[in-house]
Every structure is written in C-alpha cells, then in structure tokens.
Amino acid sequence: MKSRRFLLILALLLSFGLVLAACGSSDEADDSGGDDGESEEGGEQSGEDFSVAMVTDVGGVDDKSFNQSSWEGLQAFGDENGLEEGEGYDYAQSDSEGDYTTNLSRLVRQDFNLIYGIGYLLQPALEEVAEQNPETNFGLVDSVAEGDNIVSITFKEHEGSFLAGVAAALKTETDKIGFIGGEDGDLIRKFESGYVAGAKSVNPDIEIDIKYAESFAAADKGKLIASNMYNNDIDVIYHASGATGNGVFAEAKDRKQNNSDENIWVIGVDRDQHEEGQIDGNNITLTSMVKRVDVAVNEVATLTMEGEFPGGEVMEYGLDDDAISIAKTNEDAMTEDIVSKVDEWKEKIANGEVEVPSTDEELEEFESSL
C-alpha cells in the first residue's frame, strides 16, 4: 500500500514538473523569438530585403491542385532568389472562412512585403485587409479585387476548358461526358462554359452532365457524384473542384482496379494531375487543364521585388503565354489524332476564329451559332 502511494505521488510530481516546464515556455519562446529577429536582420544584410507569403483557401496547401500550385510557385521564387522558407517566403493555411482575415492580417503584421490571397473566396477579406494596410502589397489570384495596392491575377480558364472539352468529346465512346464543379459561382462557370462549348464544337449532339459539389474540399461528395456519372455511362469527367476532385480520381481508380477493361477517364485541373491517375500501369488521367498559377505567382513576385508592383491592375493569363495549356503527359490516352485536333482548335482560338464563351449567356449564344 505504501509503495503504491509513493508511486502516485511520484507520478503527480513528475506531471507537475512537466507543467512547470510548459509554463516556463513563454520566456524561452520570447528568447527564440528574439533569435528569429536577429537572423532576419542577418538575412537583410545579405542583400535580400523582400519577403512574400500566401494565404490558402480551405482546400489547404496540399490540395494537389490550385493552392499547391501557388505554393510551388512561391517555392520556386524562393529558390531563385535565395530566400529561406519561413522568413523569405511562407504560407498560412485557412481551415475555415473565418481564418482568411486573421491570416492575412497576421502576415501583414509579420512584415511580409507581398501577400497573396489564393482563390476568389478570399476577395472580401483581402479587400478589407488591403484597405487597412495601404503600405503592404497584395495579390489576389482568380478574381478581381479593387484597391491600389492589390494586383488581380486571372486566367482564361474557359479557353483551356474548351480544349479539355474537345479532348473529352473525341475520347468518349458513349457520347456522354460529365463536368463536376466545386462551388457554383462565376469562376467555375467559366470552366463549365468553355468545356461545354469545346465538346459541342466537336459533336453538337453530345450529352453533358453538369454537377456541382458545392465545396472545394469535399472529396467524399466528389466520389459520390463521379460514381453516379460513371454508372450512367458517362466515360469522361472533367473536374474543376480543387480537392473535391481527389474523390473523382479515387472513384475512377477504384473502378479501373476492379475492371481494367472499363474505359473511364478523368480530366484534371490546375496542375497536371497525371500522377493522381496512375494505377497498375494504367493511367485514368486523360489530360489536365493546366493553369500555371505558379508561373503567374512567381512572375508577379519578381516584378514586385524589382519595385514594379502592378498595383490596381488585372493581369490576365491565357493560352498565348502558355499559362493555360492542355497536358499531353498521358501519351497512351491522348492519341496523336486527339492532340492534333486539340492543337487545331488552339490555333483557332489564338487567331480569334473562335471566341470561347465564359458565361452562361455567351455559351447560349455560342451554342445557337453552331
């Protein structure tokens, strides 16, 4: 009995010790904070006086899509300019809508020179914080924000999606294709309009099923919708839904695993999602509508570092500067035939022969002109 009690007291003492150690933390943390400050100054001495950071939307920095691509852009920028992660460049992850403003303000307070908001969802938060902090430069990707210290970076996603539609229409054997969007809104409508227009240009009678998952972070919903579509004879699905699309890939891969003869395809978005579609020697990623967010993010950061921050402007990237393209990594699936057709249409878009619709109304016009 006695030894038991002794053990209990010992355990209590030990845990108290740990608590005390934890309590002592704040001083030490302060000390180390000081160290950080010093090393930052050290960085400045070596000539680098520029730092850049980004705030992700709820998809997170590892969404294999849009946020990840932006982060890769910042990492590349950091490498090129000898910056260190955490000081020269960094990211803040948002877990909910409420975190956007907090994260942006926090990065401002950590004295980053250029702060990106990744995704149109950050627009209201970014405009608010930018107005409060006129000294800091901001970049908004995928939407147009107003403010002299904000540069808006947008892409002609409808053009890329048009080509994805062309590829899908050429590849399908059932003449039924699908589209899965993230949250319904102007941006994803651009993808949808371009895709539908592209597919109908190749085959006016094609059936296109359009579904929205109402989230960019719901892989489970993506899987469910994809499963429904594949069950309804749809064999090519284009997803413009960020991390929700991971569910689409998962479903397609499950099916391919069970029956390797089933010809089903996914068209990826934002990054070349070739890796996502890899399964036992097969690959279900037909192609990807590659949107080089990384290039744009890197380019604007470089401009800003050189003191030429394009404040208040809207930078639009499209097919002509290769910021939007169609991946040709899956050579088995993207046959020469398809590639040459896609290139043909790309040429038509480039020389203005085809005006790709980017809204519902324009799409209606486009369809009636076919």
Binding site: G24, S25, A29, A92, E97, G98, R109, P124
Partner: protein, 348 residues
C-alpha cells in the same frame, strides 16, 4: 478537503492540463518543439492587441453556442442543432441588417432579436416534436442542421441577393463592429457582441437558478416523471427549454452576422460554431461561468493555433488534437474522479 464541488471544478482543470501535456508529448514524438509550439500559440492569441482582439472575437460566438448546449443539457435535452440555429440566426440578423434603414437604437436591437427569434423557432420545431410525439430531439436537430444550411444558402442566393454568393454588408446602424475597438486593436474584428455574450451568461444563470420557471426546467431535466407527478407540464417545459437554447444559438449567429463578418456568404459546410459549443458546454460543466471560461480557452486555442505553423512549424491540426484530448479527459471524468478519491482516501 475534496468535496463534490471542488471535484467538479478540478475535473475540467485537470483535463485541460492533461490535454496540453499530451499535446506536448505528441509534438515531441513527431519531432516538434513543444515549448516553441505553445509559445507560438500563446503569442498568437495574446501576443499583441490585434491577436487579443481576434481571440475575443472568436470567444464571443463560442460563449453563446456553449450556453445554448449547456442550457438544453441542464434541462435534460441534447441540442445537437445549435449549428443550424446559428445559421438561421445569422441569416435573420443579416437580413434585417441589409433590408432596412433605421436609427441604430431601433435597428440593432431589432436585428439581434430577430436572430434570437429565428434560433428559438428553429429550436421550437424539435421541441414540439419531442413534447407531442416523443421524437428524439437528437435526430430532429441533426436533420434541422442540414435544412438550415441548405435553405440559408438558397435564400442568400435567390432571395436576399440576385444570384450572388454573398449578401451585402449590413447597414452601419445594425452593426456591432466599432471603429473605436478596431483602432484600439489594429483592425481586429472584435466587436461589442462580447458584452451581449457575457450578459447572456448572466441571464442563463439567473433563469436557471433564481426563477421558479428555471427550477421547473431543471426539475424536468432531472426526472420528467417526478415533475409530472408534482404537477409540472413536462411538454411545455421541453418546448420552452429548446426555444431558449435555440435563442442563445441564434444570438451566436448574430455575433457572426452583425459583428465579425457583417454579411452572410453561401457556405459549403458547417461553421462548427455549434458543434464546438457542445465541447464548450461539456468542459464548462454546463454552468454559465464554466461555459464562459471554456469558450475563452477554446477561442485562445483556435486563434493561437493559426500562429503555430509559421512561427514554430507545428501544424494547426495539433490544436484540434489537444482539444479532442481535453474533451476525452472531461468525458472520462470518472477516471480522474477515481484518482482524486483514491488520493483523498489514502491521504487520510
């Protein structure tokens, strides 16, 4: 030395300490520095007045959603529907906020009470179903959450606005935000709602402990049959309890709608304010003061966590683990109670 009351206070305290310790151990196991991690958390929540303001901003809705859950639990009901009641309260407050232009003295109270009324209505439905038909409130409230989520989305898109994803900002006369606080805290989104939240905690304590009605409500919670035998109307009390609980939750929505954001955007999922309220109430032992303290802890952890990845490289998810562990320890309070009693017995 250890009477029941002190044990009730000790259990949450010990749970918090154990939760933080376990978090530290996990950080160590995964190669992070727990001292740096918690230091970053502390600075991220109280480092300067901006962070402090943001922490208070986060605490405000937690207090109210915690009160909502706690009030229902005290009356023997498990209100999982706080989340949905937050949604309808948020929508009602913003709707009133954008639709009218009135002097502040009318507009703000109107918007706030609309939120409370909407929340109360959303609580009334499961309440009446339980009272009249005996349908379990947990099932109904869970379903009501989804109804609230999708119908507010539809109303935002098609009724309040014309196909937009987000409403306009509420009129300044209905806003809880204040330039004065914003300036004081370097534009944090802290707002006057905290006063409402603390006041509501007082109200809850007063209703439950100082009024006959409160006695009835608690009594129905303890034992509906005995209360019925004593001549109380069980059904009426259940409906009333759900409505008051819903009203607290609706107010939590108003804090977001009129204070933090000033608008309502179509949402792809739950805000978790209501679900966190369950944890807050549990940690706060369903008492008004306990809920305020627990909400404060949760707000601190949530806001402080955002600072951890940038400063200490510790992922924010760790704080979710710490919170989960705290809840785990509270829920397994039997274990802690056993230890305390054991200690007491042997100490004699």
């Amino acid at each position: 030395m250890f009477n029941n009351r002190t044990i009730n206070v000790l259990i949450p305290l010990i749970s918090v300490i154990l939760g933080l310790l376990a978090g530290a151990v996990i950080m160590l196991l995964f190669g992070y520095n727990p001292i740096l991690g918690y230091g970053a958390l502390w600075n991220g929540a109280f480092g300067d007045s901006y962070f402090f303001g943001e922490t208070i901003r986060m605490v405000t809705p937690y207090i109210l959603s915690g009160l909502a859950v706690a009030f229902a639990l005290r009356t023997g009901l498990l209100n999982i529907g706080v989340e949905g009641q937050v949604f309808v309260g948020w929508m009602a407050s913003v709707w009133i906020g954008v639709a009218f232009e009135l002097p502040m003295i009318v507009h703000l109270p109107l918007a706030v009470s609309a939120a409370a009324a909407a929340g109360a209505f959303w609580g009334f439905i499961p309440g009446i179903l339980k009272a009249k038909l005996g349908v379990h409130e947990v099932i109904v409230t869970i379903m009501m959450n989804y109804i609230a989520l999708y119908s507010t989305n539809a109303i935002v898109r098609h009724v309040i606005t014309d196909g937009e994803d987000q409403t306009e900002r509420v009129a300044p006369s209905a806003s809880l935000a204040s330039d004065w606080i914003a300036e004081l805290t370097f534009y944090s989104r802290m707002h006057y709602g905290i006063l409402i939240a603390v006041f509501m905690a007082l109200i809850m304590w007063f209703i439950l402990n100082k009024t006959t009605r409160g006695f009835e409500l608690r009594s129905v919670g303890y034992n509906p049959h005995a209360s019925n035998y004593a001549g109380m109307s069980v059904g009426k009390n259940i409906v009333l309890a759900m409505m008051i609980s819903g009203a607290f939750a609706g107010l939590a929505g108003a804090m977001e709608g009129l204070g933090t954001y000033g608008y309502l955007a179509a949402k792809s999922g739950f805000t978790n304010i209501g679900f966190e309220g369950i944890a807050v109430a549990l940690l706060g032992a369903n008492t008004a003061i306990g809920v305020v303290l627990a909400a404060f802890l949760f707000g601190t952890l949530k806001i402080g966590a955002l600072n951890m990845p940038t400063v200490a490289d510790v992922p924010t998810e760790l704080v979710e683990i710490v919170i989960a562990l705290i809840i785990f320890f509270v829920a397994s309070s039997y274990m802690i109670r056993w230890f305390i009693l054991r200690f007491k017995k042997e100490g004699k």
